[in-house]
């Protein structure tokens, strides 16, 4: 069994990369490996939006990531600097910056790039998906 980490740079629905990453993550767990961490970086932070509401007959990417967390304990880490720039804030960041609402909720976590380095060091494989 190998520990996998994925780094996702791409926004949902703009490019194939987010769907490719989700499909790869599902394959990882289906083959008995551990899908340890997914790190959302740059435009990839939009995958964590709690407000995402795609048509019901399309793949719901945010629900896909959450399912990985619920069923397999996958950490869903969102770069805080990339998120703040793009309007991805949890309750505490929204309060800290004085904005009216928040757009990011658990199981997604706002973290720094230190967590990305940690994921690289503690995983057997790091696979990058980008636009």
């Amino acid at each position: 069994m190998l520990n996998y980490a994925l780094l996702l740079h791409a926004a949902p629905y703009s490019h194939q990369a987010a769907l490719s990453a989700l499909r790869f993550a599902d394959t990882v767990v289906a083959n008995g490996h551990r899908m340890k961490t997914i790190f959302f970086y740059h435009d990839g932070v939009h995958n964590a939006s709690a407000l995402m509401a795609p048509p019901q007959d399309e793949v719901h990417l945010a629900d896909g990531w959450k399912r990985l967390h619920q069923e397999h304990g996958t950490e869903l880490l969102v770069c805080v600097a990339a998120g703040l720039r793009r309007g991805l804030l949890d309750v505490s960041e929204a309060s800290r910056h004085g904005v009216m609402s928040h757009s990011l909720e658990a199981p997604f976590e706002l973290t720094g790039v230190g967590q990305l380095v940690d994921a690289m060091l503690t995983s057997d494989r790091m696979i990058t998906f980008a636009p």
């Binding site: 490719s20 499909r23 790091m126 980008a130």
Partner: protein
């Protein structure tokens, strides 16, 4: 021994040039997403630098209507085959 993941169409000649310069003698190339277009026999010399150590992702071929237009020198793998390549190659670098 490194796995190179490439998602750009062969029109991105500079990216293919960069991959070929970094490609070691034990390395393997996996074409995903729009890089599937490079697996067609008509794509020309795009894959020549990789010495036949090239695979292409079946699901992305099918999505583009290219499943029956793959050069015989390119191995077709499904998602399980993609995962297997990451199991056997300790390091994986993505080009985009």
């Amino acid at each position: 021994m490194m796995l190179h993941l490439l998602n750009r169409s062969p029109r991105s000649t500079a990216t293919y040039q960069d991959v070929s310069e970094a490609f070691g003698s034990d390395d393997h190339l996996l074409l995903i997403e729009d890089a599937c277009y490079a697996a067609q026999p008509s794509a020309g010399a795009a894959l020549e630098p990789f010495g036949g150590r090239v695979s292409v992702l079946q699901e992305d071929l099918v999505a583009r209507g290219l499943a029956k237009r793959v050069d015989p020198s390119v191995e077709v793998v499904d998602m399980n085959g993609f995962l297997a390549l990451t199991e056997t190659h300790e390091r994986c670098v993505s080009w985009f």
